[in-house]
Symmetry: C2
Subunit: 394 residues, 2 copies
DNA sequence: GCGTCTTCGTTTGTATGTTAAACTATATGC
DNA sequence: GCATATAGTTTAACATACAAACGAAGACGC
């Protein structure tokens, strides 16, 4: 439901808007901001003064004249503060320290000892505290210090409350991760699904109002951006396209459903397709580097290539379902499988062209880089403090 | 992208909010509105005065005392103006005149002569003009007269531009229906997909922020409400869950995809299931009253009952996909098939409980009444003029 | 090199809106 | 009947965006 507005809210909205414009389109002059936003130039001046006083924006000198006085160019002060992002996966976790413009100034990869069902809730919590603390120590001195941390999890989490309901290989009991971690840190903590984080980083980068991020790893998760907001659904668990059935009478999935998409287009599926085409070495199993190993093999093996093409076909079937149901402006493939994109992307595109309706056939399809998820996690604090306008409830 | 706010916008937002509160929760006193909205009571008084001057709101007398002066109760002045709604289907069109609170004061059903590919674009336009004019003549005198008309179409339309891309049985060439009809009428015309209209009327009634309306007729269309706004996607063609594949290698559909959900859970599918179980009379064919005939037969025929249960099973499979991907708070089944709900609903619920994940198992599932779509069409002008706030871009 | 014009940005005054507080009106209850 | 509570209005104060005037700084023609 919409919220009411008073003078302070009005200013907050306008200020967030100006910040976002500088963020996305900077460097800009006050004049240009006024033209883009439609705000009066006096208003822009006043808002920018505030942002400069807060050190979030800085003047970087004069721009080229347009026939008169030279404009003063403004841009985000990237090192005014830093954010921490953590991407927790089954086999490892990656922690980064990012500046305000999303530049990675420190990163650390840490394997998670327990691959098969051994890690406890408190052990994971300790790991997180340790990794975040390590990142804090790497932060250069800055006026705002650490603005917050965002944690991407490969399971079911409620962003609004910060509680975690399900993670693979970890028994969860009544776990409010945000509350737990907040005891150790003075900055705000945000928790979200990894697919959502991936989607968010793409949104921040491309400003496409409606997009779906398809996170292909051991399973498939998706993040949905609708009208420029992450869509989380009624209970915060939207985006499980991986557990929609593309074979009504298919094999039963761990989730209880039958013929789930992720049974046909994930690492698990790839492994199955590989076994179908030829004898594969024992080293090829569900592991952090399954995909990269398979990609290497595919360079010389037509069988491996065929397996990737089969995967691409099913990936395309599921993506066609997504574009037909949601008509997004952009679909991005991320996750571990993304590195194999050259081997399956043509197949995906072929299937979409044949199966999607109308203008969905031309949907823009791209591949995310490996850091998309962890970058999105690091962006959560920025989006929720610096840019957040109270009307923009997702 | 968010918009900027000035004083006038601020007031418009607050006024729209107050109107909506009275609309949804009235009768209310000024004091109660102040508490619900958080607006100062002086502000509420001022906004309400404006609404009363415009005759959209009226004082209906004193309420019960809470230990002091009795409150003046306010409600929407339902007959301050009227809206026209048209639901265009393949076999017929239904036109209604609705008052501001959604009460139907006139309705007219008109068969469409051409069932199989005979109606032209201009003929349909003439029909629409005729029916709308007839409805205008039925409007009681009121201070605002006709506020607008909304038209629900069973095809692909772009709400924003008012143009129609595809309708079954009609060859469309470059058709901007809003523009065409606007020449004949002085009030604003809105055009939308029938699934969207259905979803919108349910939203107006239940205020559930995230819901999906499943329009089951000859095919399946869906309307999606996300965060209280109709989600239309990048090109305005979102919601084609009917053309998502639930059988990756199934039969080819008219849309080009394979194994589309609507091939398994629509009137077409019902007819097939009926043929499978027993000899059916020739009178049973794709026609406006197929479902009601079949429902009658089912009262005495176990075979018919079985066919409906099979339909329910596939309906459930598709709905499980919807709830897993979108996690809506409410799913509503509408369209012609809704009248047979008692025959398939238990099956749908069973399948959802078994196939949906986590809290999606408990998703609220209801059946819409027959007028949902046409009522939603009639609501379009209200939502876009009376209640519309400029920040609420869908 | 000088004056004029253009553009950039600030300053000042005004309009509009919400809010808080004082005030009026009207009810309850002892 | 009087104290008290609630409903709604009036008044003044405050915040903000906006428009217009103003000042600053460069471009350009002569």
């Amino acid at each position: 439901m919409a919220k009411t507005v008073d003078a302070a809210t009005m200013r907050q909205i306008n200020k967030g808007y100006v910040t976002e414009i500088i963020y996305n389109q900077g460097p800009l002059s006050r004049m240009e901001i006024s033209q883009v936003t439609g705000l009066n130039k006096a208003t822009v001046s006043s808002l920018v003064d505030e942002l400069i006083a807060e050190q979030f924006v800085q003047e970087i000198g004069l721009g080229a004249s347009n026939g008169g006085r030279k404009p003063v160019m403004l841009k985000i002060n990237a090192s005014a503060g830093f954010c921490i992002g953590v991407d927790v996966q089954i086999t490892h976790m990656k922690t980064i320290l990012a500046d305000l413009s999303g530049g990675i100034v420190y990163q650390h990869m840490r394997p998670i000892a327990a691959i098969h069902g051994l890690l406890s809730q408190s052990e994971l919590e300790e790991l997180l505290v340790e990794e975040i603390q390590r990142a804090i120590q790497q932060a250069p001195p800055s006026c705002h210090g650490i603005l917050g941390a965002g944690i991407a999890l490969p399971g079911i989490v409620n962003y609004r409350t910060g509680s975690v309901f399900y993670l693979p290989n970890i028994e969860i009991r009544d776990w409010n991760l945000t509350d737990s971690l907040s005891k150790s840190f003075s900055f705000p903590i945000f928790v979200d699904n990894d697919g959502n984080c991936g989607a968010w980083s793409i949104y921040r980068e491309r400003h496409q109002q409606n997009l779906v991020f398809v996170n292909v790893g051991i399973g498939i998760g998706t993040g949905i951006v609708v009208n420029g907001h992450l869509y989380r659904g009624q209970d915060g668990i939207a985006g499980e396209f991986g557990h929609t059935s593309i074979a009504a009478m298919g094999a039963v999935c761990a989730c209880g459903n039958y013929g789930c998409w992720e049974q046909y287009a994930s690492e698990q599926a790839l492994l199955r397709y590989l076994r179908e085409v030829e004898e594969i070495p024992a080293s090829l199993e569900l592991s952090p580097n399954l995909v990269s190993l398979a990609v290497d093999k595919a360079a010389t093996s037509p069988g491996y290539q065929r397996a990737f093409r089969t995967l691409g076909q099913y990936l395309g079937i599921g993506i066609a379902n997504i574009v037909n149901s949601l008509n997004p402006g952009l679909v991005v493939i991320g996750g571990t499988m993304a590195q194999a994109a050259p081997l399956f992307l043509p197949e995906v595109q072929y299937v979409i062209r044949h199966r999607a309706m109308a203008s969905n056939k031309q949907v823009c399809l791209t591949v995310a880089n490996a850091d998309a998820i962890v970058l999105g996690a690091a962006q959560l604090p920025i989006s929720n403090t610096l840019l957040h306008s109270p009307l923009a409830e997702s």
